[in-house]
């Protein structure tokens, strides 16, 4: 996958849409995902169209099967894409890029929240020692009424 590729869930959860950005390094997907690479149209525009009510209806009506629904690649090729004026497509793409940027901002803020406790106490680089084994007395096991190693981990 490369930045700009559009991902479509085609087995089980049909029609979930994702857009590959440059946030991650090398990526690949399994057989439950279709990867769409656009030629001339802005990928952000296509992705947001496919995730819209109209795009989702177009996808769902092509789903096949009964118990586990699926979408086959030739059907994806047949999906109609409305071509709006380039200026409008550009505007839509810009909104999508801004949305992704805000999403990243949100992720960073939550990461920051997660670090607040450790940072304030100067523990952000603290790493628990990973010991290969440890010992506990039988009396500890009896008194705590636990026999799992996780509980007694130093």
């Amino acid at each position: 996958m490369a930045p700009g590729d559009i991902l479509v869930g085609i087995i089980g959860t049909i029609g979930s849409i994702g857009l590959v950005t440059d946030r991650f390094g090398k990526l690949t997907g399994n057989c439950k995902l279709a990867i769409i690479s656009t030629l001339e149209i802005e990928p952000e525009y296509v992705a947001v169209y496919l995730s819209s009510k109209i795009g989702q209806d177009e996808i769902i009506r092509r789903a096949r099967g009964t118990v586990q629904m699926g979408l086959i690649l030739p059907d994806i090729k047949d999906l109609p894409i409305p071509l709006l004026q380039p200026s409008k497509r550009k505007k839509i793409s810009e909104l999508v890029r801004k949305s992704y940027s805000k999403r990243q901002e949100s992720i960073d803020s939550y990461k920051q929240a997660k670090m607040c406790f450790l940072q304030e106490l100067g523990l952000e680089k603290f790493i628990l020692p990973e010991e290969l084994y440890f010992e506990r007395k039988l009396s500890d096991v009896k008194s705590k009424r636990r026999l799992d190693s996780e509980y007694f981990k130093p």
């Binding site: 947001v48 409008k88 803020s109 920051q112 603290f126």
Partner: protein
């Protein structure tokens, strides 16, 4: 160092009303899947009736300032309940924590969601495949207690970051919805290409 037992004013978890169709009802019904570190996803499909909410589940009717902690399956995700717009309740996989008034809830959320808090929770969990943190074990979670100023600073910084994160996520969704509306509007109006 104190234990959760020392700082909690209330601790309970919800349950699942028997013989109820969860597509019916007026009250949002949250499960562990709806709770992540610092965030609560209110977009659940599960609902219960007002009579459950005000009757058998009255103890877990959520209100502003409550803290939720996941205790079954995915364990150790804590989030703050902020002015729920609609009535909300929880099932048995989520614990409801109410702290004594002299403590800052966000301090404890920050601690639980940190690497240190999660380590202690992992230690106190039972079961391997489907981990479970009982209410009794929640009471045994050790909590470091510092000067009030330090705990307040941590709480405020955490709250500020969470608030920023929530707002940015909301903005992101709104931008995406705006983009969708433009496309849908153009198609429905048969706009020329």
């Amino acid at each position: 160092m104190l234990y959760f037992d020392d700082i909690l004013a209330g601790l309970t978890n919800g349950h699942t009303p028997t013989n109820h169709d969860f597509s019916q009802g007026e009250v949002l019904f949250l499960t562990a899947e709806n709770i992540s570190d610092f965030t609560i996803e209110y977009g659940t499909d599960k609902r219960i009736l007002h009579q459950h909410h005000q009757g058998e589940l009255a103890r877990t009717a959520l209100r502003d300032g409550d803290v939720l902690l996941t205790i079954k399956g995915k364990v150790g995700n804590a989030a703050y309940v902020e002015c729920p717009e609609k009535p909300v309740n929880i099932n048995q996989d989520v614990a409801l924590l109410r702290f004594k008034s002299e403590y800052f809830s966000y301090y404890f959320i920050s601690y639980i969601n940190s690497f240190l808090g999660k380590t202690f929770i992992e230690q106190l969990c039972t079961s391997q495949i489907n981990p479970f943190l009982s209410l009794g074990n929640i009471r045994q979670i050790p909590v470091p207690i510092y000067e009030t100023a330090v705990m307040k600073r941590i709480a405020l910084r955490t709250e500020e970051s969470v608030s920023k994160g929530r707002q940015a996520a909301l903005d992101s969704n709104n931008l995406l919805n705006d983009a969708r509306k433009i496309i849908e509007g153009a198609i429905l109006n048969c706009e020329k290409v």
